[in-house]
Amino acid sequence: MELVNAIEQSAVGALVRESLWVYPTLLTLHGVGLALLVGISCAVDVRILGFASDVPLRPMARFLPVMYLGFWLNALSGLGLLCAEASKMLRDPVFFVKMACILAGTGAIVRLNTLVFRPQDARLDRDTFHGSARALALASLAAWTLAIVTGRLTAYGFFR
């Protein structure tokens, strides 16, 4: 727990906590990043799961950089928020469930990226997907949803 206190007392932690604007700005960025990451991931996922199967998937790859921008926006803003509230978050089991969900969701989209979005692969132009692509799409939808659920719950500390 010494490490937790050290993080919270660090310069970054103190800045985020004490400045009037830094904390709310990070929270806003965390929300914007969430919309980019989960929104675009969700669009790709539902397409792979068979909705709107006449939407060509290949050009959707252009949206993926925006999705990854959302990921990094949230990784950085989340790190800042974590520094400010290290003792609250790192003692909350719900926070670690959220981290596990993000790990799973990220793994799923990265794997989908190599499995589906290979430019030379003719499967990209297919209307329907089966097997692991569908499983990964479902997994990422579930992981992001649960990450949002647990993320909101960390504000309440029900299980701390």
């Binding site: 919309a35 969700c42 949002i148």
Partner: protein, 167 residues
């Protein structure tokens, strides 16, 4: 104005629905969870069409992207219902709070932007765009305003707890 809002808040928080939500302590956090899920759907799907009109992923045609907006509409429904839940449960945190009305203003402007998109002929102009075709300037403007206004709605929403009266 503020006094009127405070009076409305007092009345609203005395209603049975308000008391029900407060008495069941999982409903408010539950609404928050769904508010975020709905927000991701609404903003996520709206921004794919906005970005396409602005020139990202230009080799997609508009029609299928536009059809996927149905998910965004579901997202809006979720945020509207859960958002109403917040206001009914804790009206004094919202109605007398200027930041809340800024959020509502941006929401109204986003709605107006959508109205312009469909009634000014811009939608008809982009509807037929195939892969690789550039959207007209008017459509780009609508796409830009949409991104800006939804980001603003998010900003004011998050600011509710920090500016004006705090939770």
């Amino acid at each position: 104005m503020k006094q009127t809002m405070e009076a409305v808040s007092v009345w609203l928080s005395s209603t049975a629905l308000s008391e029900y939500i407060i008495d069941h302590r999982w409903i408010f956090p539950g609404c928050e969870i769904f508010h975020f899920v709905g927000m991701a759907m609404l903003v996520g799907f709206a921004l794919t069409l906005d970005l396409r009109m602005l020139g990202v992923a230009k080799n997609m045609s508009i029609v299928p992207l536009h059809r996927m907006l149905a998910f965004g509409l579901v997202g809006f429904g979720i945020t509207a219902v859960t958002g109403l839940g917040f206001v009914v449960a804790a009206p004094s945190q919202y109605l007398p709070n200027g930041v809340f009305w800024f959020k509502m203003l941006f929401l109204a402007l986003a709605g107006l932007n959508i109205g312009v998109f469909y009634t000014s002929g811009i939608y008809q102009a982009v509807e037929t765009l195939g892969p690789g075709e550039d959207a007209p300037a008017g459509a780009k403007l609508v796409g830009f305003f949409s991104l800006f206004l939804w980001a603003g709605v998010l900003f004011w929403g998050r600011m509710l707890a920090f500016l004006g009266i705090a939770f």
